[in-house]
Amino acid sequence: MRFPIIRTVFFKELRELLRDRRSMLIMFGVPLVLYPVMLLGMGALGEKKINQLKSDKYTIVVQNAADAPKLIEIINQPESGISIVDKPDPEQQLLNEKIQAILVVPEHAEQRARASEEVHFKIEVDRSRQSASFVEGKVDRAIHEYERWIIEQRLATKGVPADVLKGIKTDITDLATSDQRFGHLMSSILPLFLLITGMLGAFFPALSVTTTEREHGTLETLLVTPAGRTELLIAKGTLVLLCALLTAGLNLLSMSMVMWRVFSMLPDNAGGTLTISPSALGLAYLAAVPTLIFFSAIVLVVGLLARTYREASSMATPVMLLPVISMVVGLAEPKISAAILITPIVNTTVIIREALTGRVSIEAFAAAFAASCLYAGLLVSAAARLFSNEQLVNSNWEPLSIRGLTKLGSSPRRRLPGIDEAVALWAVTILLSFYVTPSLSNWPLLPLVAVVEIGLITLPTLLTALLAKWQWRETFSWRSARPRDYLAAVLAGLGMIPIASTLFVLQNKLWPASADYFRINTEPLAKGVIYHPIIVTLAVGLLAGFCEEFLYRGPLQRALLRKLPVWWALVIGATLFSAAHLDTHGFPLRLLLGLALGFIVYRTRSIFPAMLAHGLYDATQVAYLAYQVHSQGVDAAIQHASTPEPLGLDTFVLIGIGIVFLLIAYYLLRPSSDSSQGLTPRSLLG
């Protein structure tokens, strides 16, 4: 990576951008001129109009006024804002806006009302006129005052003091701070503006550095210079991202200040003064950064896929609708959940809302930020793949057309998975798990496990392998192993159990889990093994062993091993495996389990021993639980799981046996002296 080349290309792109009036207008003109002028102008006009409508004196006709003299007296008071006129054909006068309302007083209204009869006044207005609601309110207030006077008269007639009319008053205290109140007002609109303006800011520069270059033939001249494609993409991508960040940032500042001014100008500004919290705005902006990277990468991808500027513009139309997701989320105001936090765009919208209202937790922010970074990374990787494609200079290359897709799909060459593809597959399985599993929570254990393991893990993996044309044997390590490898797998699967249990006890002493944690994790299994304990045990072992290994020690580990040093690949693979179980407390143990299983596949070059070890490990745990459920009952088994046994002599004996098993397994897994096994690390890198 050569910084001088990146800098040279970046400044060339920047120079071109600064001479592009359209981009400048979107980046600076819209937030610095258009919003303030438009919104402040609208706000000032609105305020003026409302004040005028409120202060205006409205003209009404009162029919049969003589039957409600007190009401006429009230209306004639100067503070009522109404003046009574007498005009023929009042309805026509109303439609012609000569008067604003007609008040129809029933026959002997006042006399009947004072005699405790119910009387009906009728107000006629023309609601197609802006003044209707104001005159309606004013007449209503006058009638309300008249009603109170009538009731006082009735009470006086019956000798009851007017004090009985004193009611209950309610004082509402808003505990939200002024910046929280403003944050709430902003949270409905700001995420959409932040994302949509960021995307718009990135759009024209992205097309300028990709499609326009292809169209004008400048890309080819750039590609024949010593500048590497990665360096070119970094320079171009940095400019696009900078534009997105700058546009979004300027819009954020402009929009918040203008909105604050507009809301402050309104007579009823949500119950008090409003203030902007710079830290909340800063946090909201920070939360949006990974999603802005995501959007920048999307528009770069669009720019690289399109052959002409016109084609890019038409492709971009549906892409531009992506930020609208944030508007929908803003309207729905969903509660924060793990699924929300890892869903692209939605998570950013929710976190911005939480940041603006000062309620964001560091865990939620970190989870959403990390998930958004992952998606942004995947999109950037897709852009890099496209930019590396040699067909980029071919004006006939049309990967997005039906013909282009047919060509892509028809390539007979099979290949190994890339890290980005494998991580994208992993993200899809996680999202599926988050969204589908809760709806299956009432299912019996076996169908639930089957659907999760087969439907949410194995099928997406198989489908991706077919579509991406992965080399089956190498990607999935789908080859037979030596008999001693299977023996090692059995010993490893069994040997890990006492060691894992002991480590969990120790972990629980340092980092105690709640009682709920054990109940939530144990109860479904405990209830599942009440009937058919053997079938459930075998099924869980088989499904978890086969399906989870199929993904994690299959394409994921293969992709990581191709690009990273062995131990880095194994650790990252185990981390993803553990993270996918969505169990913070069980994370360290599953990390170790994932490492052990990854090592078995690495050493044996076959996935089957790892499937066996994984299956045995899970099946033994389920079998032990089934034994406890049948000997002590469900509640006692759950209780037993939540109260770890103290470390005694038998524990140490079991740990000793476990260590011996693992040592023997390690010995058995040593590379064969037979060169045909080819167990050197180099041979495994694909």
């Binding site: 001088p4 004008h216 400048t218 001249t221 590609l223 024949v224 210079t225 200079v393 028809s410 007979p412």
Partner: protein, 262 residues
């Protein structure tokens, strides 16, 4: 300077077959020589030149450019070539001076050396007068000169030009041809593709006739005439094309008429 051995570039077809854009091409070009790739549209000229410029990766075979292997040292190859594609390939919002300077920087020139080289090529291609005018306000001929200046700003030993006079009027064409001759006289190895038989005959020391992705014959114009037993390059060219694929020539009334005249 340029040695191409068995260069093949093919693409996968939807039906599982292979489209061979260039098949087993061999050619060589020395310093101070102008080599012309002559062929009809879709013959594989641009693909060959793109492979030599490392924009495309050959499916088989290889080549050495300025002593560097295409596959082993693509960056060194790029550092030693100047490439002008079929389009002028200029940034519309930059001026010629900025364009030439930008490419000079990409080739590692800096400071006084860069400025001196920029001035040299601007004068060499007679661009100085409009060097600070935006590229999108230049005529096609002016743009082509800027394209050439950009391609040779780093003074490369090998210059690859893809149809450099396509779409130019005769006067600008003559200017560009003079510039190409000057480059060869200065010891550069110039590889150019062209449709123009007369241009190839006038400029090129060596010509490769290419059709359907195959180099049908290679040699000096005289050698091509001798090998095809024809009196001039025009007849030699049609003879070669006809021998390889008779339909491509006889099926075209225009071409048959042309052959009759020649």
């Amino acid at each position: 300077m340029v040695e191409v051995r068995g260069l093949t570039k093919s693409y996968d077809e939807p039906n599982g077959g292979q489209l061979v854009a260039v098949g087993n091409a061999n050619l060589s070009c020395n310093a101070g020589e102008i080599y012309g790739l002559l062929g009809p549209n879709g013959a594989g000229k641009t693909t060959t030149l793109r492979c030599l410029a490392t924009v495309l990766k050959p499916t088989a075979g290889t080549a050495t450019v300025a002593g560097f292997d295409l596959l082993q040292h693509p960056e060194d190859v790029r550092r030693n070539i100047g490439f002008l594609s079929g389009t002028t390939g200029l940034y519309q919002r930059l001026t010629p001076r900025e364009t030439v300077r930008f490419f000079g920087e990409l080739y590692g020139l800096a400071g006084d050396q860069l400025e001196a080289r920029v001035e040299t090529v601007l004068q060499l291609f007679r661009i100085t007068e409009y060097a600070d005018r935006a590229n999108d306000r230049l005529s096609t001929g002016m743009k082509q000169r800027v394209g050439l200046a950009r391609a040779v700003v780093h003074d490369p030993p090998v210059v690859i030009l893809d149809e450099p006079t396509s779409g130019l009027d005769p006067i600008v064409t003559r200017d560009v041809e003079d510039a190409i001759t000057a480059l060869a006289r200065a010891g550069r190895c110039v590889l150019l593709s062209t449709h123009s038989l007369s241009q190839a005959e006038d400029l090129c020391a060596k010509i490769g006739v290419i059709a359907h992705g195959k180099v049908l014959a290679e040699g000096t114009p005289a050698e091509l005439c001798a090998s095809t037993q024809t009196p001039n390059l025009r007849k030699a060219f049609f003879n070669l094309i006809e021998m390889y694929d008779p339909l491509s020539v006889t099926a075209s009334p225009g071409l048959s008429e042309d052959r009759g005249r020649a």
